[in-house]
Amino acid sequence: MSEKIGVYVCHCGSNIAGTVDVEGVANWAAKELAERGVVVARDYKFMCSSLGQELIEKDIKEHGLTRVVVAACSPHLHEPTFRGACARAGLNPYLFEMTNIREQDSWVTADKQEATKKAKSLVAAAVWRVAHQQPLESLFVPIDPNVLVVGGGITGIQASLEIANAGHHVYLVEREPSIGGHMAQFDKTFPTLDCSACILTPKMFDAGNHKNITLFTWSEVEKVEGYIGNFTVTIRKKARYIDEENCTGCGVCEEKCPKKVIDTVFEAGLGYRKAVYRPFPQAVPKYPVIDRPNCIFFQRGTCKACEKFCPTGAIKFDQQDEIITVKVGNIILATGYDLFDARKIPNYGYGRLPNVFTSLEFERMTNAAGPTGGKVVLRDGVTQPKSVAIVHCVGSRDKNYHKYCSSICCMQSLKFAHLVHEKTGAEVYNFYIDIRTPAKGYEEFYQRLLDEGTHFVRGKVAEITNSVRIPGEEGKLVVQVEDTLIGKQRRIPVDMVILSAALEARADAKEVAQKFGISCSADDWFIERHPKLDPVATMTDGVFIAGACQGPKDIPASVAQGAAAAARVLSIIGQGEIEIEAATAMVDETTCVGCKQCIASCPYQAIIYLEDKGKAYVQEALCKGCGTCVGTCLPKSITLKHFTDDQIVSEMIGAMQAMKSFETMEVS
C-alpha cells in the first residue's frame, strides 16, 4: 500500500468524546489500519477549529500524507472546511474523506462501547474508501450577476432593492397582480402601530421604478434549469388583457366594469372588487388585470364596457400568456405563507357563525382603505360590537393541526385588542395559552395592553357557540373556555370573535420546492442549510430562502432575512466565478455496447448517443452526478467520479471487515 493516510478523530467537545472513546478509536486506527496505509492517527478537541485544521495541514506537509480521513460531524456541515484545509496544504480536496461519528453515532447510540465500535467501523470504511479516491479538478463557472427573486412581499421587495441598489439586475416575479404581499393588507404594524401602507408603499414604488428591477407581476415561474451561476428560468406572464404600453392606470375600466366579484385574496373575502381590477389603489405596477373566469365578455361574449370607456384603448381581449426566459446566477425565494383555514376547526364556528372573523378579515376591516372604511363592525356592516373575543393559537400549538407556534399571533392579537379598544371602546377578551413577546418593544406593548384594561383569559377555547344556556347569552356568541388561572370553566358572551389563525406554508410549497430543487420540512416550510449559521441558504447552491416561506416570521425578521439573502447573493456575485462539484459521470467507450439504457435513465437528458461510434456520451456540463445511469449500466461502462464502484465497495468492505473483527474478538 503506497498511500500515506492520516486519520483525525474529533472530540467535538463532549458531543462525540462523551460517548465514543475517541482516543481509543485513533489508537485502534493507527494499529489495525496501518496495513491499509494509516501512518498518522490523532484525536483532537475540535477538528474544525483553526488549530485542528492546521494540525492536518502540518501533517500533510511533514508526513507527506497522500490521503486524509476526518471522523467528526456530518459532512453536510464540515466537508467543505476540511477539503479547504487539504487544498491549502497542497492535497487535492477529493483525496479527503469524512465520516460521520456524531449525528450518526455518538448522538444516536446509547451504549458507549457500541458507539466506539461503530466509530471504528466507520473509520475503517472511510480509510478503505479514501485509498481508492482520485484527485479531481473542480470546474469553475462564471456567475451570471442577474438575480431572480420569487415573491413580491416585503421580503422579496427588500431583497430586490438591496441587490438592485448594488448595481445588479433583478427579475422580481409575483403571482398576484401587484407586489406588496400580505403587508399591503395590514392596517397597523406592531408594536409601534405605524401604518403599514405608509412604510410599505414607498418601497413598492422604489421596486417598481428601479432601473435595475424588472417586475413580472401576474406571473409564475414555470421551470428552472441549470445550477448556481447559470440558471435558466422560464416565467409564464399570464395575460392581463391590458396593453401595458398604453395603460395609464387611470382606473376608468374598474369604475365602468359592471361585474362585482368577492375579493377572496386581497380583501380576504370581506369586500368586493370588479372583474377588471387592481387589488388596491397603490398597486405596483399600476395596470389592472381582467379576471377571465369572472369577466362577462369572456363568459358570455358581450359587454366590453371597459374597452368602450378606456381612454387610451389599452384593453386587449386577445392578449395571450407570454413565456419569458431569463438567465440568472442566483435565486431568492420569498414566497411567504398562507393563512390557516379556520373552517378546519368546526367548533370555532368560522364560516357558520357570521360574527366569527379571521385575523386577515379583521386586518381588512380595521384598515381605513378596507371594505368598511376602517370601522369595526359586525358582519351586518353597521353594528358596532360591545364586546370582542380574540382567540390565540387557532391551528397552531395544537397537535391536531400545527404543532409549531406561529410566532406572530400574540403580538397581532394584542394589536387587534388595542385597535378594537381605540375604535369602539368595547370590552376585549384575549384567550391565550401563553403570551409570547420576545422581540424589541413587544413586552412593553403587552404591558400597555394590560394597562388599557384588556381582559386576558389563560386557556384554550373549547367552543364558540350561539346556543343559549344561561340568561344573558341571547343573541351573543358564547366563548366556552377553561380559565386555567382560576381553574374554572367559563362561558363568556361576546358580540364578535376574531380568530388569530396560524400561518402555514403555502399550499403549493412542495411543488415550488421541487421546482427549485430544495426541500421542505414536515410542515412544508422550506429548509435552510443550517438552522443557526446558515439560515437563508439552502442545500442547493445558488437558491436562497427568506421570510415566512422558511417559517412563521414577523415583518422585522422577514426584512432582515430578505436583506441577508441579498447579501449572500451579492457576495457570490462578487466572487465572479464559482467552483462546482467535479463528481460527474463518464462512459468507457471500450466496453459500452450502445444499449441506450443509460440515456433512458438520465433525469437530465445529459447523455447522448454518438451515432457514428454507437456509444453513449455524457455531456459533463449537464450531468448533476446522481449516478442513476451507473446503476442502470449493465456492462458497467459508466463511472461516476468520486462514487465509483471501487470506492463504494471498498467502503462497504472496510465497514464489514471491522464489524467481523469485533465479532471474532468477542467469540475468542
Partner: protein, 136 residues
C-alpha cells in the same frame, strides 16, 4: 453470545442521509448495527453493489432514498423503485430471504421515521439466522 447482525445502509445524500442527521440532531436512539454509506442518489445503487455486500457477509442491506416526487435528481429514485423489487425476487430465487434487502423512503425531515425504519429492520434481521450460516 448474542448475535449482532451486520447491516449496510446505502443512503442518498439529499434526503435519507440528512434524515439520519436529523435523527442525530434530535438525539434519537437506535441500534448501532447499520453502517451508513453515503451515495448521491439511491438510483446509484446497482444490483451488483447489493449482491457484493451480501457476498461480503452482510446480514441485511438497506437502500433508502427520497420519497417519490421529492428526488433531488427529480427521477433518480424511480429507478430504485423499479430495480429493487426485481432484485428482491432474484434474491429469493437464489435462496436468500428477500426481506434481507429493505427499500424505504426517508426525507431529510423524517428523523423519527429513520429511527423507526432502522429499529424495525434491525429487529427483523436479528430474527433471521446470520447470513453466512444460511449460505453454508
Amino acid at each position: 453470545m448474542m448475535y449482532q447482525p451486520k447491516i449496510i445502509g446505502f443512503l442518498c445524500n439529499w434526503c435519507s442521509y440528512r434524515g439520519a442527521d436529523t435523527a442525530g440532531m434530535a438525539r434519537m436512539k437506535y441500534p448501532p448495527n447499520v453502517k451508513i454509506i453515503r451515495v448521491p442518489c439511491s438510483g446509484r445503487i446497482s444490483p451488483e453493489l447489493v449482491l457484493r455486500t451480501f457476498r461480503e457477509g452482510a446480514d441485511g442491506v438497506m437502500v433508502l432514498g427520497c420519497h417519490i416526487g421529492d428526488c433531488h435528481y427529480s427521477t433518480g429514485n424511480h429507478r430504485t423503485a423499479k430495480r429493487m423489487p426485481v432484485l428482491k425476487k432474484l434474491l429469493e430465487y437464489s435462496g436468500i430471504e428477500p426481506e434481507r434487502l429493505h427499500i424505504n423512503w426517508v426525507s431529510a425531515a423524517e428523523g423519527e421515521k429513520f429511527t423507526v425504519v432502522i429499529k424495525e429492520f434491525t429487529e427483523k434481521i436479528s430474527a433471521l439466522p446470520p447470513f453466512v450460516e444460511t449460505m453454508k
